[in-house]
Symmetry: C2
Subunit: 465 residues, 2 copies
């Protein structure tokens, strides 16, 4: 059996829901369906979840909220009418909203309840439409599905005992349509996951039912090997491993929230990223293992907004504890460091720029000067990180040579190379202004067939260019 | 004025001392001369300092020590007779030894006093020989020279007030010959520097007299660009900077102890490494700054005996303080780490193998498992480190490409690349078995003229070779 999750764009309107129904009908092994709240129908549209949040805030601030409620009901009405479904579903949705608006609970708990309406209604509508088409389908509330969570509004954590309950979903006849994004506490309180939580529900149900496949339907045919903003029509990734996915997600890949997939990863359930608008496309498989001899590098990711702090101190390498003390200062100030390359008498710390407010900068630099007695300390902003990702990296000779040659060809100075810990990635630091050229050159090197003339210029001093 | 220091091989016998005298005579600006104890005359010979240590141990253990004393006196006698010097010098040396043997002081202090006899006698002999040749030369005791130190036997530290006293050496007429290796405390106790301390004395006197040049006479024409055990007849380094010297020294370059030069470095006194046996050779200059556009890479150094500890933990990069905690464990166990490359979910720590006894290994691994709750932890031994060193690295495009291409050509897998902190070096980790090939290939890439065909093979999967 398969678990299929459909994202917001797949249930944004009746036209999309019809595509979803066709996808479900076309494969009888798609037994558990998870749906998001209706997403944007056009680029300036507002997502259903945001409408629900507006409604909740208006109510909690004792403002008139008829308009907010009407916006919500109009959208559901349109979908229900366009699908020729019974009006009773609309009434059911409205009653649920009214009930939650009257709840005498904490504002956070009420917000969670109202936010869940989007997914919950999608599940009601989709199951009704499947039945309307003659399928044996039913709406299954997360409680019935067995999703029990901790009482942390907006950040629910699954309780481990849920898995055995979820497994029973397999026994249900027909198609079970479960709303994503929320679960229930043992005390029957509705609590939502963090945003993007339908992906979490999907992964949990795939893991709990020990599905043969978890299909994640989005609006792209597959994951690209590189950001299409940098390279026109980049190649698709057909298969990538969990590890590769994670490294790519770190540096700018945002097809979905990689951490949401953790439950599926842990049970080694294969994941397939597919397109609701083009279900025939094979999509991208995310698996535990792949044959890396086919393709050593699977993708190139990048991210900007990094900052580097450099310290030098004569005889640093004789000083046991220097590196630890430096990192300790970052920790004390709540700054998570990304990397810490070191020389004999110097060390750099790479971290996200946004963590380094002018205030923090002053504190950190003062502490480094006063506590570590360094010779110099300096900050370099506008650093970009480029990651070459692939399971084959660790055992393939010449990958570093190809990557660095591509930078040399493009005339790009490499600020940092970090290789040696991750077995699936190689990381380069470049100036942010060089990022686009860097990505394009790497893509050409690793993903285009024309690899015949892999030559590169001799080292050229920058000052002489 | 110049300060010239002559090492043990330069004063090992009369023939060598004659060369030293010729060198001093040939340049009247060589006003301050520092000498070591007589070194080895042939490969199986024993150094004078070791004979003196034997004598001291025999005496302190109340053994008969006539033989040890005789060994020492025979060597001095031979030198003095071969130089046709007055027998009174030999008597002076013997009286000094006898006096120190009778000293009623701590064993450590007595050892320091006896160890100093080698350098002290060299200075007496050389100054006498220079006078014999008609030069205005005199023996200057370190106390007279102004070298005042802390009372740490075998590890004396210069007292800062020494510098102003040493500066007065400039005012002395003729050539001052100062024994290396020791100084005096304010209480008149003789204390030696750490082993190799004649280099320290030389650098201190060069700094204190603000010499225009500090010449360090050894038995090699210059510093080689690479270890001659790996490459036949490697190129000489004509000029290198203090920073380059320091990075090269870290990884296996052992022409002299780089830390001994610190006093000279601090005063920015240029240092010249020259050969007593071939003083016409220009030698290697060590300076504060050089024009790096001539030659971006100045040398290739390497060292073996490194070990790498790898840990992985899912979502490690979300855990503020993980890196610090890991390094803390190393610090607690007294293990100085060299580098710490990190990925998203993993981190490696590179350190010297000899620090990691089986006992320490067990403690460190247990602590990492119990305190950091990692997913995996593993140890990789037999790692070698290769450093490509040059002031031009940071601003030169294509150096990483050339270096990594040379590894690829030689079929060598790179375990680690660490670039991004030091401005003058790029570091590679390889398996120790690949080290020789790696060095040879890098040398060919950076130091031979034949750079016409800088091509490299496409990435090749190791398993397919």
């Amino acid at each position: 059996m398969k678990v299929a999750k459909f994202g917001g764009s797949s249930v944004a309107n009746a036209k999309q829901i019809k595509k979803v129904a066709n996808i479900i009908k076309s494969d009888s092994s798609r037994k558990v369906i998870v749906v998001s709240a209706p997403g944007k129908r056009f680029s300036d549209d507002v997502k259903m979840t945001d409408l629900l949040i507006e409604l909740c805030y208006a109510k909690q601030q004792n403002q008139d909220h008829d308009l907010q409620l009407q916006n919500i009901m109009v959208r559901f009405q349109e979908i229900i009418e366009d699908l020729s479904l019974d009006q009773s579903i609309l009434e059911d949705i409205q009653q649920t909203i009214e009930k939650y608006l009257q709840f005498d609970i904490s504002p956070m708990a009420q917000l969670d309840a109202l936010k869940s309406i989007g997914e919950d209604s999608s599940a009601k509508i989709v199951s009704a439409y499947l039945k309307h088409l003659g399928l044996n389908a039913s709406y299954v509330n997360p409680k019935e599905a067995g999703i029990f969570v901790s009482n942390e509004p907006g950040n629910a954590q699954l309780l481990p005992e849920s898995f055995s309950r979820i497994y029973k979903l397999r026994e249900r006849e027909g198609v079970s349509v479960v709303p994503g994004f929320f679960g229930y506490t043992e005390n029957n309180d509705l609590v939502t996951f963090s945003r993007g939580g339908s992906d979490i529900t999907g992964a949990i149900l795939a893991a709990g039912t020990k599905a043969s496949l978890y299909e994640n339907f989005t609006d792209v045919d597959s994951v690209f090997a590189v950001n299409p903003n940098f390279v026109e029509n980049p190649k698709d990734i057909t298969v990538l491993t969990y590890k590769e996915m994670r490294e790519l997600s770190y540096a700018g890949f945002s097809v979905f929230h990689d951490e949401a997939l953790i439950p599926a990863f842990k049970e080694e359930i294969p994941v397939c990223i597919k397109n609701t608008n083009n279900p025939e496309a094979p999509g991208t498989m995310v698996v535990a293992e792949r044959d890396s001899t086919d393709q050593c590098v699977v993708g190139i990711a990048s991210d900007v907004g990094f900052c580097s702090l450099y310290v030098s101190k004569f005889l640093m390498n004789r000083e046991v504890g220097f590196g630890r003390k430096l990192l300790n200062i970052f920790e004390d100030e709540g700054i998570s460091f990304e990397h810490a390359p070191s020389g004999i008498d110097d060390m750099s710390v790479i971290f996200r720029d946004h963590l380094f407010t002018p205030e923090k900068e002053q504190i950190v630099i003062d502490r480094i000067r006063n506590e570590l007695h360094v010779d110099t300390v300096s900050i370099h902003r506008d650093l970009a990180v480029v990651m070459v990702v692939g399971e084959g990296l660790v055992n393939t000779i010449g990958v570093a040579a190809k990557a660095t040659a591509s930078f040399a060809k493009a005339g790009i100075n490499i600020d940092m190379i970090n290789q040696g810990s991750s077995e699936v990635s190689m990381m380069f630091g470049v100036h942010a202004v060089d990022l686009e050229k860097a990505i394009q050159s790497l893509y050409k090197e690793f993903f285009t067939e024309d690899e015949s003339n892999l030559t590169f210029p001799s080292a050229v001093a920058r000052g002489h260019q």
